[in-house]
Symmetry: C2
Subunit: 225 residues, 2 copies
């Protein structure tokens, strides 16, 4: 019974996500969905990313949490449109929440839409938000075995970002082993390591994002490109 | 429709959890349920806790993960009965899983049953496992605002353990603020700070656990105490 309802919920979400994907295509919006455990550094990554953009860059942010608008307040300081999605008890963002808040935000492309999911390495991975890419963050304090223990998100993510590399001297963590584990689950997953605190590795992340935007532009329908 | 099924699932879980609670009472088992984000140090805490017990202490461990038996293998080295609960895709332990694995483990009281939940700060908090106490772990790398953002588990936990205090010199984290936030959600929550790496603060944790066992013994039905 439970499985039947879950399937129904996911298939309804897939339908709405397909609509979002169509809308992103028509409006030349590149949507990226950031997923990680609580406290892995999603908001810090977004802060530094927003801070690196030239003024006037067309970008908007949706950020999800069970409670509080802390993250939206942190992210608003960079001058771009930001909306907090407070899910109440819900452990993930779904396509309906994104659609509603995107409408209320009034963001139309072309441009970049950054979606920070609820901090949870499990449930958000099952909910398609129409994004061009899921990005999974893993911090160096969490242990190298997380890709094996939480395979769903590592299988679905296009990129794994190892965060908080400034803490590497203080923890027992082998980045090579973490990447090996991720590639056991998903051999083609891209990989970057960075510190939002020191900025180490940030140039590669911005280059990865720029390449994804470039690719999306090339694939955009001629009529609106 | 979804809410109806969720309510049904939770009420069925509550029924099974009440049976477990009754069984724990009859067998003088003290069950403790550890909940945190992935990588906050649940397994490290359990390793050091098991290592601190006098040989022959009556204790058993159930440890949950979506995939892998890594944690069970780590914990088995201490010579106590340990069983891995692999949940597949499920983001939490429920009372039925605990009942089944407890039967297969063949653990009968009196004694201590340590249950390490799936790494997830959201969903496990809704599933009663018949435990005497939920314990929430928060590591110093995760940020002070987590109790406000994930209030469900901090409201339900008897104790909040701040972990990885050895990393405090290397991160911007104010333990006092984290505790203030937790007490905004749950004014009576107990609090401890420790490092499973250095052992700092571990004596207080063991004393807290001993006090809980003492209290349970005093409350145990006379016929079997």
């Amino acid at each position: 019974m439970r499985e039947v309802v879950e399937k129904k919920v996911l298939s309804e979400n897939d339908r709405l996500a397909a609509e979002l994907r169509q809308r992103y295509r028509e409006q030349n919006i590149l949507c990226v969905n950031f997923i990680s455990s609580p406290g892995s550094g999603k908001t810090a990554l977004l802060e530094k990313t927003l801070g690196s953009f030239a003024p006037g860059t067309p970008v908007a942010v949706l950020t999800g949490d069970l409670q509080t608008d802390n993250d939206a307040r942190r992210l608003m300081r960079y001058g771009y449109p930001v909306r907090q999605i407070v899910t109440g008890g819900t452990c993930h963002l779904d396509a309906r929440m994104v659609e509603r808040h995107l409408n209320e935000l009034g963001f139309r492309g072309p441009g970049l839409l950054l979606v920070e999911n609820v901090g949870n390495l499990v449930c958000p991975s099952s909910y398609d938000l129409g994004e061009a890419a899921k990005i999974v963050l893993l911090s160096v304090t969490e242990g190298e075995d997380k890709p094996l223990k939480y395979p769903g998100i590592f299988r679905r993510a296009s990129l794994m970002i190892l965060t908080k590399t400034d803490l590497l001297p203080h923890v027992e963590f082998d980045p090579k082993l973490a990447l090996e584990n991720a590639r056991k689950i998903h051999p083609e997953i891209d990989y970057l390591a960075l510190s939002s605190k020191t900025g180490e590795g940030f140039d590669k992340w911005l280059a990865w994002l720029a390449a994804l935007q470039q690719k999306a532009r090339q694939e955009a329908p001629a009529a609106i490109s």
